[in-house]
């Protein structure tokens, strides 16, 4: 899949910007605060309807303006015109696919697959379990609409169930326990499917992470991801295990008014040569692991969807040593269309020049081609 062109109107510093992209590597060069990362933000909006850094949509509207608009033309087998508009006064976002309004982001996600390597990726290996769950969820959700819907339902069930637990605790009304059973059944139904998807995903994804890691680090380092669910997944009967765990925790759940069992408490352990990365990893190993996760995601989605995702990389070369940076730049031509932001062109000299590339200079919200 290739993004041919984007048009931005009142989009942060970009009052009116049109850029035509290469189907290979697009280097987006600019100083801090010139509006280069904004280009990645716009591409992400068009692929997911959401903000890349979970910033408020209202922050994206140019100062003093009423709305922002971004549109983009994708080419796969067919041509797709996408447009996103945010109206500040109504605080409402509209998404259009081929001029037709689309109401839920769930029906956009996965259609234009996208992989993003950004600064906040630190959190995936260094942060808490929820950061790793988020990584896993975004990858599987792009590959499977079913999973995304399950996740939406599961999260809604969690909220409803918390509220009911609270009502049971406050009122001591035992008639509500029958209803709690129904909510538990919903939790188990969606939760069991989520656990099965995650279990399969980790099994498959280990191949992809190993491949990516070994391309960047040729030493004998063996990365691995382990899945630790709060429900025992070893046996065939995840559903039964889930049910009995819920039964065991029932009094605790009511006392604390918290959902204590289920995939929302899952953990994914990253290891290198059998040692837990979070505890024993060096800075370089963390960085390599983070980059490998994204390359792994790229090839995983490509395989699953039969479409080549778009790859966004925000200022990654600045943080890497020369060895890793050159390994990654050797790897890049194997990927499809890529968008890489950088602060200056000189870094480009060290990198591969033969590839199919385009250099775009962003200055004060205006784009030009080098």
């Amino acid at each position: 899949m290739v993004l041919r062109q984007i048009d931005l109107t009142n989009f942060r510093l970009h009052r009116k910007t049109t850029i035509n992209f290469s189907d290979g590597i697009n280097y987006i060069i600019g100083g801090n605060g010139q509006g280069k990362t904004t280009i990645l933000e716009a591409i992400y909006y068009l692929c997911t309807t959401k903000n890349i850094n979970a910033a408020a949509d209202s922050d994206v509207v140019s100062f003093g303006q009423e709305m922002f608009e971004a549109s983009g033309d994708f080419n796969e087998l067919s041509k797709d015109h996408t447009k996103i508009v945010f109206d500040l006064s109504r605080n409402k976002k509209f998404y259009y696919l081929n001029e037709k309004a689309v109401n839920s982001s769930a029906s956009v996600i996965g259609r234009f697959p996208i992989v993003v390597l950004i600064q906040s990726d630190h959190a995936i290996t260094l942060g808490g379990p929820s950061d790793r769950r988020k990584f896993v969820d975004t990858v599987i959700s792009q590959a499977s609409q079913t999973y995304l819907r399950l996740l939406i339902d599961y999260n809604k069930t969690l909220k409803q169930r918390t509220n009911l637990l609270l009502q049971i605790r406050e009122t001591g009304n035992n008639r509500l326990l029958e209803q709690l059973n129904a909510w538990s059944e919903s939790l188990v139904n969606a939760g069991t499917e989520i656990i099965k998807h995650r279990k399969n995903f980790v099994n498959e994804f280990n191949i992809y992470i190993k491949e990516a890691y070994n391309r960047i680090m040729t030493d004998k380092e063996e990365p691995e991801i382990l899945y630790e669910s709060s429900v025992n997944t070893e046996t065939q009967t995840i559903e039964e295990n889930f049910k009995s765990a819920l039964l065991n925790e029932r009094d605790n759940e009511i006392r604390r008014a918290v959902n204590l069992v289920g995939p929302h408490r899952d953990e994914f352990i990253f290891k290198i040569n059998g040692l837990e990365l979070r505890r024993f990893g060096s800075q370089g190993q963390h960085k390599t692991f983070q980059v490998s996760l994204r390359f792994g995601e790229f090839f995983y989605l490509k395989e699953k969807l039969g479409k080549t995702p778009i790859f966004l990389m925000d200022d990654i070369f600045g943080e890497l040593d020369i060895y890793r940076a050159s390994k990654i730049s050797e790897y890049l031509p194997k990927v499809g269309q890529t968008f890489i932001t950088m602060t200056d062109l000189t870094k480009l000299d060290d990198l591969n020049k033969k590839e199919n590339r385009l250099v775009i200079i962003i200055e004060q919200g205006k784009a030009s081609y080098a």
Partner: protein, 199 residues
């Protein structure tokens, strides 16, 4: 800007309606203000009559002009089946498909603790005595396939375990997360044909 009080009251009342925001309410109020008196009176009369003449069927809680709705009164309906729906508007959607000829039961919502809707706020207890009284053989749960609709269906299915009645759900075909009300007729029709047995 100071708005004349009667206008402000009209705007406030209109903006209480679902999917009417402040701006739309303002536009509607100003439009009514510009309309001639007859038009406004006709609108007011229709709204008052709506409230006075239409009630809810005491058997199935469908919208009705009588104590019993036309469906409950009809001799042509298959009285051995009850289709459980969330709102009366779902009945309209299902009737349009011509795939179903049984009776209905309107819950008036689904379980939703966040919105303070627990089972006692719905017409669930009213469903149970109907089974014996009407000799019901099959209950079809036609609730939206989202977290709340699914859980409500599971809850009702649990209650019906002690009754000798077949419980089915209309299964595939409905857009997941979509409202039954807006689903197109062909999909609902197919959903009825493909219902699955819950117990």
């Amino acid at each position: 800007m100071i708005i004349a009080e009667p206008l402000q009251i009209a705007i406030d009342e209109l903006s209480k309606l679902p999917s009417i925001g402040k701006k739309t309410a303002q536009r509607l109020a100003l439009h009514l203000l510009k309309s001639d008196k007859q038009t406004v009176e006709a609108l007011v009369k229709s709204l008052v009559e709506l409230k006075e003449k239409i009630t809810f069927c005491r058997n199935c809680f469908n919208i009705s002009t009588d104590e019993l709705c036309d469906i409950c009164k009809s001799a042509k309906r298959d009285r051995t089946m009850i289709c459980v729906v969330e709102e009366a508007s779902d009945i309209i959607a299902i009737e349009k498909t011509n795939e179903y000829n049984g009776l209905y039961h309107v819950l008036g919502g689904v379980l939703n603790p966040l919105a303070n809707v627990t089972a006692d706020k719905l017409k669930i207890n009213e469903l149970l005595p109907r089974i014996e009284k009407e000799g019901t053989k099959e209950i079809i749960l036609a609730l939206n396939p989202d977290a709340e609709g699914d859980t409500t269906a599971l809850f009702i299915a649990r209650l019906l375990k002690s009754y000798h009645v077949k419980v089915t759900r209309i299964a595939r075909g409905l857009p997941i997360g979509g409202d039954l009300e807006f689903a197109d007729e062909a999909t609902i029709g197919r959903a009825f044909l493909g219902r699955i047995i819950v117990q």
